[in-house]
Symmetry: C2
Subunit: 441 residues, 2 copies
């Protein structure tokens, strides 16, 4: 039949019908399945759709002229270094700058304990790679960052969620969960937490609880993996003190320039106890040989020559206005029975729908009404999150946020009407893990 | 005792003495041990040492002015795209350009089957990730690329080497090896091969044998992973036809701009059968979310605006001169009993020492004499390669290459004298896998 098609296309089409390698993949590949909602997000990226789904920072606010000049200058002055292979651990000068950067959150660290990674996502991948055997337990907030859940699944970890409230992880629940897993003979490898302006819940672990969480983990011998991409994007007062600041040997800290500068460079890092850092460097080397010298030096040059503190302040003000807009619109427009979190920083609001509604079933209707969000189920490794959705305010302009909420409120209203008329079956969906892709994490 | 040290340093020092996480790593981390020769390579990077160890391309030959201009122009025109997250599969336009690039080696492919990776090293990592369960067999040339062996070890693959001669992999040995593994009930997942200007042996699989190797693997149901970073850097005539050109469904092709442009961007790719490509994209997403938009667009801009074919030609001429210099110096200076390969392209010569000598034991003495190489044992997963070394001619200027060989010949001469006086025990070392780090792969 496909005689007239060109060769490459014919091959591709054949391949998509029959996977001749199906019985040869590794066991870990079984979990690598594209989400059913992925196609919807392709539609959601059309300009007429207001996307409250994406976690993309508003890079339009960056001083593009200055960035253009500094990369040109970098090639002129240090081109043969920027274009060459670098060390697996990362550029030494950038690692010093990263230590200065972390000092804003109370962290006192040596550049030698920092590993520069391809976004903090790679740090997460490498930490999982060196610690997780199939079946090992990772503790994570419920809900948790979708990209982390994808990585844990790729290494066949067993994720056990720990409940949060408005002050973040609940220490008593954490202690009980650890005790019950210990009794069951399970191997807990680490607690994965986004303590500040959490993705997706938008809540922050309170200062008092930080000490409790560290103490519980220390006593139980559980490593803490602190993922902190949003820590400097708080809307009030000074940055929170990082967990790592109070426990250098018990915490691996993951940082990123994706939200404070730009994700397009893919520069993140891990700060780890020395022996763990050794393993991370070797793991990084086998994964990518070394990170891009070019983007590392570009970030270093940006930090050295640009007013980056003022830029972060500008980002904070921009995101605060959008957070206020989203919260105001939700307050004004959402039907009774909906509730949501009130983030003090970061990018996300976590919304809970009235009893009987299902955010994933709602998504196609919402996209048809030109508004998108991420259904809550994607943020859990189990079946939870059906009534939840993540709304992000980082990327759309304020008037678009308001319009998006107006459309969303209409869809929720319709679903409530359906529910009240035909029962909950009419608004429910079922399905597995939803990994929506990099632009909406 | 260390009261007066600063906090970060004290932590680092403590950590280096006792690894409190030692009993908590994953089984796969057991293989992640730094090579004993790593420290030597740190010394070898001093300017007074002639390094015939490094596989670093000579980026000084690039038109830095033009590269500086194009990255500045990229930020000015497409800054908000270059600085933002991209898709996990990679920039669509770059994937088209990659298809044009591969056409030079007879490959007819669709951009949809290409995944852009963080160097081809990441492609290798992801392929291993989706195919290898612990204990699965990977077939590889003996010797094979050290970075690949590190990746295979990280996924607990069992590497079985297949002998080469001056025409590359020996088809009969390949067929026998597969048959014997089949009889033993072992699961062979793929053949990993660098068919053109092989790293480290410098040999090239002949055209006649390419068909035989493909046919043997097709009949045995063994996937071929063709790693081809040096294919366009041949010194005579037209580029070889890639294995992938003749078997789109049986070959995963790995390519890279590290040697034809610059490694500092870390832009490589995999071209894979469609179903495998799907898995690669999901694996990449869980590993790094997405590649750097900035470096992908920079490479795309370079290919679109610069005379890259002429640049590759300039690289070819530069490396040919250095190859000639190295071969001439070896011919003139090495003691009788040494033999070596004569590469028709790429970066490397593989040298075999006389009976009874040991290249790894020789390395400290060589570095003391201000010349460095990579001992042969690093390129085997088993104990082979004791009498071999890899000499690379890509980075040092010709007169430095000549001086390096003069120094090396002196060290070999000394070792021969020792051997003849005190026996082989005096010049032998023992030890495991040697992974020398990213700058010498």
């Amino acid at each position: 039949m496909p005689e007239e098609q060109d060769h490459g296309r014919r091959t591709a089409a054949q391949g998509s019908r029959i996977d001749t390698y199906i019985d040869r993949y590794a066991a870990r590949a079984a979990g690598m399945v594209a989400s059913e909602i992925r196609a919807l997000f392709a539609v959601a990226s059309r300009p007429e759709v207001v996307s409250l789904a994406g976690g993309m920072p508003y890079v339009t606010a960056l001083p593009l002229d200055a960035v253009g000049e500094l990369v040109a200058d970098l090639v002129a002055r240090r081109g043969t270094v920027a274009l060459q292979y670098g060390s697996a651990q990362g550029d030494p000068h950038l690692r010093e700058q990263i230590c200065d950067f972390m000092r804003l959150e109370g962290i006192d660290a040596a550049p030698d304990d920092v590993v520069v990674t391809v976004g903090s996502q790679q740090a997460l991948d490498l930490i999982t790679r060196i610690f997780i055997d199939p079946g090992d337990v990772v503790l994570a907030e419920g809900p948790s960052y979708v990209g982390a859940l994808g990585t844990f699944a790729a290494y066949q970890a067993s994720v056990v969620h720990v409940d949060m409230d408005d002050e973040g992880l609940i220490p008593e629940v954490l202690a009980e969960t650890i005790a019950s897993l210990d009794r069951a003979g399970r191997r807990i490898k680490f607690l994965y937490t986004v303590p500040t302006f959490q993705n997706p819940a938008g809540v922050t672990l309170s200062a008092a609880r930080r000490h409790q969480v560290l103490e519980i983990c220390r006593r139980a011998g559980v490593l803490v993996v602190e993922d902190n991409p949003y820590g400097l994007l708080g809307f009030d007062g000074e940055p929170m003190r990082a967990l790592r600041a109070d426990d250098p040997e018990g915490v691996v800290y993951l940082g990123s320039f994706s939200k404070t500068l730009a994700p397009g460079f893919r520069v993140g890092w891990a700060l780890a106890p020395h022996a763990v850092r050794d393993k991370l460097v070797l793991a990084l080397e086998s994964a990518v040989l070394s990170h891009s010298s070019f983007t590392q030096l570009a970030v270093g040059q940006y930090l050295a020559t640009q007013p980056w503190r003022e830029q972060i302040k500008a980002f904070r003000e921009l995101y605060r206005e959008r957070r206020d807009t989203l919260l105001g619109a939700l307050e004004a427009l959402m039907p009774p029975g909906c509730s949501w979190t009130r983030p003090a920083g970061g990018f996300f609001v976590w919304l809970t729908l009235p009893e009987g509604l299902d955010s994933k079933a709602m998504l196609p209707r919402a996209v048809a009404e030109r508004v998108a969000f991420v259904p809550g189920t994607g943020f859990y490794a189990d079946a939870a999150g059906v009534r939840n959705m993540r709304l992000s305010y980082c990327y759309p302009e304020p008037e678009r946020i308001r319009e998006g909420v107006r459309r969303l409120a209409g869809v929720v209203q319709q679903d409530l009407l359906l529910r009240d008329t035909f029962g909950t079956g009419s608004v429910r969906a079922h399905g597995g893990v939803d990994t929506p892709g990099p632009d909406v994490t």
